[in-house]
Symmetry: none
Subunit: 201 residues, 4 copies
DNA sequence: CATGAATGAGGATTCATTCAT
DNA sequence: GATGAATGAATCCTCATTCAT
């Protein structure tokens, strides 16, 4: 059980949100492990003990948090979907997306999540499930886009292209972590080349 | 100081290896943070205190893994360097390299290192330095390869291509973590396409 | 930070006192180094972890004793200051002050502080600062007292007399430790002689 | 039992001395508690394990060390005894003796010993016994000196004067610890005044 | 609903001591 | 005699969690 019954469900929802927002700040600053419940409770403006009325454990907060993060990625995909030519949009937006993924603000939390996945089976399952859902959506987008251009849309091609594009962007976050002096303009050019090749072949 | 002097260097090396092997198992199972020294000591078949005769700290153990990783990557680069046409070799070997990077045996520890880097400054510095060294070697290979084909070798192009290729492979490890059912053949094709585009343009 | 905020300051003060009293007992029995936090927590009737809600560290506990000591000495000086003829008062009170300084209840903790100061730089700094403050107060008293008698009050004389008088009393604590059978009446006589000579010359 | 039987007693004595000399260095540098057996063994040029063939425990080293220190004090008294007019010699040598006692080289070890006394009953007993012996010798010197001048030599007077003089010098060590900027010339004057008053009254 | 005082298990690390060689 | 590898108990401190109020 992840949450107690509450008299006023609306108030409870607000409280949960308060905690999750506070957790986001703390997790970004200190990591899942580094952020203590006391730190989170202070940021959430409520007592540490009270948080346990809304979340069964710290892990439950992390879990809710991971779930929350799916929404953010979905939104990104939504933005691309709404464009006239989604495939071309991906290529055209390459500068923005590269710059975004290099920003620590962007990768700190995803990295935190995958790190947690490696030692917390609950988070791992959650995280894989979240990935599955975003993949499904991205796959649909890719399929529609390629059909428009009369390109192959068999499973193998579609899934391979998709995973490779995602590799590129998730790998980019790792690069930002390892090489603080990333050659941004050069990478934008290269990403454009790789994306064109992957999406339009 | 990273290690005490030992009278019998061979025995010491064996002991170090014992600890490292045990640690690898534990880190893979529980993560660097999650694995306690006592857990490691049990797996290594020696007392926790004694480990400190071979490693100055828990950090020093993961540091050893960082170095191990450098050696592994350097060897890979060395293999490519020794080929007649390195650029083409990268493309030709894509099946092997994709399969290797997908193997959990391969990425579990590197990912653990990434994760630790994101919050442990000592490991971060070590890890960035390791990255710098492998980058330098890969860059030289890439430069020589491109010169042979009369392709651009200005800094921007060279560094951008290089970082993008690395993104691809490091991202692949993340994909393997998030999606256990990766479409391997499809990815091999897609990786080949992306690599060709990146290396020969 | 030396202490967390507490909602009920009175209760907190009681708890702090509990810890301090328990610590005093343990420190007297086993020394600062020898007394473990767990030993203190048992004596204080609370968990070891909880002590850290009142004191930031074990050092912070001994720091509290340093301050306590300052207060005690300041009070003594205050008592002398309020007398009509402070210099004469010191000589007249010699019996009481010798007896007090010989009492283990009095010197056990100060001696523990000295000992800790000799190898713990934090405590050393604290302790030196405490000494500076009490010295300043005693010096003023001494100056005023000597001026009344038309005696020399140049820095050299004043500081020399002061430090020598303090040596006498602090040394007395060491003597009590080393020689449990101190010849109290004889020492009172001798202290009177030495103090007269030091204060009125 | 403090020591094993040894085939060659002379060699054993040398070894013991090696350890004690090394210990002196280490204790001064790091304190009794701070100096590890490994540190001492390195300084003594023999293995940690081997030390246990000469001393039953670390405490036994400390004990032997305390015993050793008595000799040093005895020597000081011996120097005074050999003078024509010992009482006057004490007063005349005041500059040297004050300067010596202020030197950290002098008080570091005694302070270490008394600190240890407060938590180690064996050392406490040893230390008190050492004090008793040096006191006896100093008392004899004082008695002879005072008889020469026809001064009172009843127990009360004699012991009181003696303990007070010792207080003065042992207190001086504490002052040096607490006040690094001790007014040395002023203290020499004051010590002379106090000593004259104590010895010749 | 809300607090924060209190717990206690668990973490890394150190070090005196033992013992096989 | 001599070594140093090996042990394991003990240390301070942190923090998720519980619960009386």
């Amino acid at each position: 059980m992840t949450e107690k019954r509450h008299i006023d469900p609306e108030r409870a929802a607000t409280r949960r949100r308060q905690v999750l927002d506070a957790a986001a700040t703390c997790f970004r600053r200190s990591g899942f492990h580094g952020a203590s419940m006391s730190e989170i409770s202070k940021a959430a403006g409520m007592s540490a003990g009270h948080i346990y009325n809304y979340f069964a454990s710290k892990d439950a907060i992390i879990a809710a948090f991971v779930e929350d993060n799916v929404a953010r990625v979905m939104e990104l995909i939504g933005n691309i979907e709404s464009q006239a030519d989604p495939l071309q949009a991906i290529v055209d937006d390459v500068e923005t997306s590269v710059r975004n993924n290099i920003d620590p603000e962007h990768w700190a939390l995803p990295l935190e999540i995958f790190a947690e996945s490696s030692r917390n089976p609950v988070i791992a399952a959650l995280s894989q499930d979240a990935d599955r859902r975003t993949r499904a959506r991205f796959r649909a987008l890719l399929k529609a886009g390629r059909e428009k251009y009369g390109l192959a849309v068999d499973d193998n091609t579609l899934d391979g292209r998709m995973e490779t594009v995602i590799s590129l962007f998730q790998g980019l976050q790792l690069r930002a972590l390892h090489n603080p002096g990333l050659p941004i303009p050069g990478m934008i050019d290269s990403f454009r080349i790789a994306l064109k090749a992957l999406l339009f072949n």
